[in-house]
Amino acid sequence: MQSSGTDRSRRLLTAAAGALLAALMALVLIIGFRLATRIRDNVATLRRASLLQAYPSELSQQLTALRERLGTLEYTGGVQQELSDSVAGVNRDLTALEHRRGLDPTLLGTAEQLWRAYGPVLAPVLAYAGEPYSDTDFGSSLSVSGKMYYTQVRRAELFAQSHAPALHRQLTALTAALQKRTSNAAARLRLLLSAGVLAVLLLGGAAAYLQLARSRGERAAQAAEEQTRDILHTVREGLFLLDADYRIGSVWSQALNHLFGREDFAGLPFEELLRDKVSPATLATAMKYIKLLWGERAHENLIKSINPLGQLEVTLDNGRGGKETRYLQFNFHRVLGAKGVKHVLCTVADITSNVMLTRELHEAQESAHAQLDMMVGMLQSDPLQVGGFLDAAAAGLKHINAILKEPARSHAEFSKKLAGLARELHAIKGEASALNLMSIAQRVHHLEDMVESLKGKSELDGNDFLPLVLKLDELLAHLRAVREMIGRLGALQAPASAPADTLSSPVLRPVGAEELAATLQNLARKLAEDHGKPFTLSLEGLTEVPAQYLGALKDCLIQMLRNAAVHGIEPDTVRRAGSKSATGQVRAQFQRQADGFELVFEDDGAGLSPEALKQAAVRKQLLTAEQAAELDDRAALALIFKPGFSTRTEVSLDAGRGTGMDLVAKAIYGLGGRIGVSTHPGRFTRFKIALPVPRETAVA
């Protein structure tokens, strides 16, 4: 990343500066050492040179002293020895100077030359070893050799006096040159040291600057890191990267821990993360989906809608020891590097509240639809009819509640309830759909489904009935809403209409014959439309139906009409092929008989097949195959009055629960009547119902 790059170059720079500084210091030290050594040598030379400087005049003085001593006949040995020492000193020092490097050779050469000139005059003086004095009676005087010696000394003195200044000058010049050299070297050393100090200061400054810059860079990097950590710590979504092996990277947001109740995400295969949380099929699809992101063809934005983990229902610990259902949303984004997809960034959000809100909205919408549906239904039918239905439904539900309330502890006791529940529900559904009250019919249908699924269970207990009673409560609430709406509608239409309580309310008015006819015709139209089977319904003599029978017969007629439409009448294509009229005929005829009443209900449809009925009964396990084989046609036909019988395998709102004709039969038996069926395959099905005269005469 960018910051680490500048960091590295800065570190390199610092290292280079350090190396340079060290090299420079070494150089300064070496040169300084050599300069210092040279200065030391120069100083020694200088000392010799300055000593040399004094010799010429010293020699002159010594020679003079020697001569004077000879003149006064004093002892000369000591002075001669001093002179000899001086000559040796000059020789020694000059030789020493010759070995000094860098000394101006001409200056030294001239000095040596001048000195060499002293040699011949000094040599006899120095070499003299005789007795200079001779003692006589008259006193002492110079001996012959002493006189010669005197002459030699005098000559040497004169030579020295005349040559000393030149030699002295030469030696002074030599000293001056040496002095100049030494001071030059000292100046160079000073310069070198100053330069060294300056360089050290400069490099030190640079190093300090670089160090400062680096720590500033480090601080910035540290701050960035801290911010990243804060983000990962605070963000509400689970964030992590997936590598090409679908493993989670080494960094993830804190929220992920809470969402999944674990902390060991580093390197965890994504499949592992979800293994217990989703079905294997969904997981497989999800892995394929992520793989799409590693490929090149799929556009990230254009495959979001098919993300299989867009809304995932999971059960999570709620942190208090319990479980709760949450909804998680996984999103996947490509992270692109220089060479295509580098990672896939995965975000996990808890969208439970969103889902709940959406669901509530959806429910509200559905309820609005249901209300509209209800309004349309009620506007189409007579409000009084709907009121009657609501009363009947309330009574039915009250009965259902009574069935539920009967104590039950064993499977058998629970199981016994189911048939009664199914019958009641089926009746309510029939009437609701007859009145086009689809929102109610659908709810009841749902309840029926639940009852139906319980029938298949081998072990039933109270827990299985909990959803049922909840649904029942919901249905009651819905019925009450409908009733309230009718109240409002009624207030609009006829101010006198009285609202009533759901569970216990008096029947508004007995069902009238006209109402019954309207309901049936309405239902017939709807059934013909829904099933795409055109048929007409003709009703005769319904006005003859005694008031006591109206309620029960209505249920029966609705059921038989539904059966005729669903099972009896064939689709028009089949009818044409069978040279029938395309439109089916359904007829209900009620008439007074000598000993009571007779209701004939018939359709010109496919008729009933005794064989098919027997097979169905075996399939439903109402009969064994052996029992079925023994039944004659008549007994086979009677199977349709058996509880739990149906020839249709798929279940729809209109029929097929197998509680249709047993409900009819039960109602007829309840009125003290009889029911029979006759059929001709391909031509008709006919029900004949005989009813006694009601015990109490109807009050018209």
């Binding site: 309330k405 502890r409 309830k417």
Partner: protein
């Protein structure tokens, strides 16, 4: 509207109490909707729920059942106070379960206990009460849940 998970939580809280306290689980009978006056046995432990949702949950049991329960719990004190404590305990367990499962939405009161006298049970308007019979050994008690 009461949800199935919620009802389940209350029911499980109750049956679990029996399982834990008496090492013998209770079973639930056929649930139904309450019509008319609340059905009360001798002792009743009740919690009030407020907050986003409102309502009451109560456990009501006959003296005989509570006596056997106390015996199973190795108790020797079958006084009126003991009975009251016991139904209060059951209500407490239910409330604990509810707190665990829907701590966010529910504010749950400290259990109140009634004996004999017919308490004023406030029923939120527009809601029906669910009655869940609780069978344990040969005895029956009731769990009643009424929640908006």
């Amino acid at each position: 509207m009461l949800r199935e998970e919620e009802l389940k939580t209350f029911v499980d809280g109750t049956t679990r109490y029996f399982e834990v306290a008496a090492q013998q689980p209770a079973t639930i009978g056929s649930p139904y909707l309450l019509e008319g006056e609340p059905a009360m046995h001798d002792y009743t432990g009740m919690i009030n729920i407020s907050g986003k949702r409102e309502g009451v949950v109560y456990f009501t049991a006959p003296r005989a059942m509570l006596t056997v329960l106390l015996m199973k719990m190795q108790e020797s004190d079958f006084s009126h106070e003991s009975m009251r404590d016991l139904v209060g305990e059951v209500a407490n367990t239910i409330s604990g379960n509810a707190r665990r499962d829907f701590g966010h939405d529910f504010v749950i009161s400290v259990p109140s206990v009634f004996a004999g006298e017919k308490p004023q049970i406030p029923q939120p308007p527009g809601t029906r009460a669910f009655v869940i019979p609780i069978h344990w050994r040969s005895h029956s008690a009731k769990l009643v849940v009424s929640l908006t």
